[in-house]
């Protein structure tokens, strides 16, 4: 708390979103005894793992200066494939589901790279079109898992830890390290922060973009498979609005839409903030739709705080 401005900008030791997470954790632990129990905490992790996994990939894409609106549809397709193809065996079904995410991510990335069309438009198209693919494949039917091994996986635990939560946390750690320590991670920042300079320096900006779209596609597909194991089923409308939740979480975590700035730790904070709010308000028996309003208000507040800080930092005329 030495310098309020530095702190809020996140250049200090702890990111502002984490302060928020801690504050609401304390708040809800007073409001409900059950809130801090191991069972509930792992529950929160399981509930947030779907959005959380996608948000990991989205963070990369957004640091890279792009956006992916098609993640919800990719999640839906992958969930349907992982359940619908179970006649060929679970392994084949899951591989096909994950592959669909990789392929769709690659298509998005390739189109953004080669045509130069804005990622917002490309993935908006994909968001509509991939939903069409789901309907073509499922013919508007919901699929139910017949193999219990599949739906058991969604509720399995290793010791006290639910498998889904573990997968999410391990992925988070890996993605954090990749972003911080590898050439690809660092070049992702370079491309988002200053594309022109990155191009001049010989960084293959197209390839990095495409890899990041493949990453987000993969994580959306993985989230789809895991969500299907949780539900033991897949509906054709699964994943609608997930792109909104994901982008909300990533922006709450401090990643900038303009690219070149962001972190996986911030995104984890953003994801947890949403999860805790939902869970805590549920425990307090507040109807779920209040969360929607509160999230909207928080998102706008974050923008306002961010802008106030930046306006004072630069001496230019604010247009």
């Amino acid at each position: 708390m030495i310098n309020m401005k530095d702190f809020l900008k996140g250049s200090g030791f702890i990111q502002p979103i984490w302060v928020f997470v801690i504050v609401i954790t304390i708040f809800f632990s007073f409001m409900s005894e059950y809130f801090l129990s191991i069972g509930n905490l792992s529950n929160i992790l399981v509930q947030t793992s779907t959005i959380g996994l996608i948000a990991l990939g989205m963070t990369y894409v957004m640091i890279n200066g792009n956006i992916d609106l098609s993640v919800g549809a990719v999640l839906g397709l992958s969930a349907s494939l992982s359940v619908g193809l179970q006649d060929y065996g679970i392994t084949i079904a899951v591989i096909a589901a994950l592959a669909s995410g990789l392929v769709l991510g690659a298509i998005n990335g390739l189109v953004v790279w080669k045509t130069g069309v804005n990622a917002f438009i490309v993935t908006l198209g994909a968001m509509i079109g991939v939903r069409g693919l789901i309907f073509v494949y499922t013919e508007e039917q919901s699929f139910y898992a017949t193999n219990f091994a599949f739906s058991d996986f969604g509720t399995a635990s290793i010791g006290p830890f639910p498998v889904l939560a573990l997968i999410f946390l391990i992925c988070t750690l890996v993605m954090h390290l990749v972003l911080k320590k590898t050439g690809h991670g660092r070049n992702t920042f370079a491309v988002g922060g200053n594309p022109e300079a990155a191009l001049d320096a010989g960084i293959r900006i197209g390839r990095h973009m495409m890899i990041n779209f493949i990453i987000v596609g993969f994580f959306a597909a993985l989230a789809g498979v895991l969500l299907a194991t949780q539900m033991g089923a897949a509906t054709p409308n699964l994943g609608r609005d997930y792109e909104l939740w994901t982008i909300t979480a990533v922006v709450l975590g401090g990643t900038k839409l303009t690219g070149g700035y962001g972190s996986i730790t911030g995104t984890l904070g953003g994801v947890l903030a949403i999860g805790i709010l939902r869970n805590g308000m549920n425990l307090m028996q507040v109807p779920a739709f209040y969360v929607l309003v509160i999230l909207g208000v928080i998102l706008i507040s974050v923008l306002i705080i961010d802008q106030r800080l930046n306006v004072h930092a630069s001496k230019g005329v604010s247009i």
Binding site: V117, I121, L124, G125, V130, V136, R240, L292, G296, I304
Partner: protein
């Protein structure tokens, strides 16, 4: 120096003449595409070009079209509005619910008031607070959806006596054989197109979207301009809610879900750039109608309704890509 300048201009001139036809075709490319689509569908289905079918398509497209007119203005002004879907849910639920409680006139007035209020909130945050429009309207999308659910308590609403109210006029009525939604759509489109093309207000919006800094340095009140575009957008949503509520006489809480995407798809397909400062209502109308006719044509050919989404995916990207390729004179980007 002067000679270089003159040379540049001379070449610019001669090039302009040569490329005249090509420019025209590329500028009107989407119109050409539209006509080809119409022709192709008419080959396979006799019904397609029948008057009644065309009127049906236009009527069905009118709700998206009405909203798209408003959102086009926002986009020309250099911003985005993703909250229109939620707003449509909100306004439709509100007008349907209030209809039986306070009568149609009161319901319509209150609905317009609250819709414009939401538009004003958007406009205030984006125009005066200068926040990023994408995130603000994303947050509003979520918040308004929450408000609808809180208001309705999660219940669907409907009008009890559906055959006995003049409220049906907006969604189900006909004037001189033309459906009222179509008339509303056409009127709004013409009025807004005239405002954008022939008034100083329209000129200012184009300037603000084209280069906000230069607009401010020219003494234009940019904040007010941006604010006003969200009022226009909200007004159009309110009109759409009037039509939708009147047509279905009942409303689910999420009736408008996804409309923001269809609206954007139509606008982008029409050729209005998301960067702001360019575009027109005509283009948007063509874009919306293409989507409508593709949907209708595919249905007539016996394909399920969701195949149109696949087609939309392809043509949206193609339309923007070809436009870009034409500007940079090569199909693909060159960087690796």
């Amino acid at each position: 120096m002067a000679s270089v300048e003159q040379g540049k201009q001379a070449i610019m001139l001669s090039k302009k003449h040569k490329a005249g036809l090509l420019n025209f075709l590329s500028a009107q490319g989407i119109l050409v595409f539209f006509l080809i689509c119409m022709f192709a569908f008419s080959l396979f289905s006799e019904q397609f070009l029948s008057q009644s079918n065309i009127m049906t398509v236009v009527r069905q497209a009118s709700i998206i079209g009405i909203i798209a007119v408003g959102v086009t203005v926002v986009i020309i002004g250099g911003n985005l509005d993703l909250s229109v879907g939620s707003m449509l849910s909100f306004s439709t639920v509100l007008v349907v619910d209030l209809h039986d409680k306070i009568g149609p006139i009161g319901a319509i007035i209150l609905m317009f008031f609250f819709t414009l209020l939401i538009g004003a909130v958007n406009g205030f945050l984006i125009g005066f607070m200068r926040l990023n429009s994408l995130i603000v309207t994303l947050a509003m999308l979520s918040a308004i959806q929450g408000l609808v659910l809180i208001y309705s308590g999660g219940q669907n609403v409907d009008i009890a006596n559906q055959s006995d109210t003049w409220f049906a006029f907006f969604g189900r009525g006909y004037v001189l054989g033309i459906a009222v939604p179509v008339i509303l759509f056409a009127m709004l489109a013409i009025i807004v197109q005239v405002v954008m093309s022939y008034t100083s207000y329209g000129r200012r919006i184009f300037a603000v979207g084209g280069n906000p800094a230069a607009a401010v340095y020219s003494g234009i009140r940019k904040n007010w301009c941006v604010f006003s575009t969200y009022l226009i957008s909200a007004f159009c949503v309110a009109c759409a809610a009037l039509v939708l509520g009147s047509r279905v006489m009942g409303s689910q809480n999420n009736v408008g879900q996804g409309y923001e995407l269809l609206v954007l798809a139509g606008i982008i397909l029409g050729g209005t750039s998301l960067l702001g400062g360019a575009g027109s209502i005509w283009k948007t109308i063509i874009g919306v109608l293409i989507l409508g006719f593709i949907q209708n044509g595919l249905l007539l050919l016996g394909y399920p309704y969701y195949t149109q989404w696949l087609v939309t995916w392809v043509i949206i990207i193609l339309a923007v890509w070809l436009d870009l390729a034409n500007k940079r004179k090569r199909l693909f980007t060159t960087h690796s």
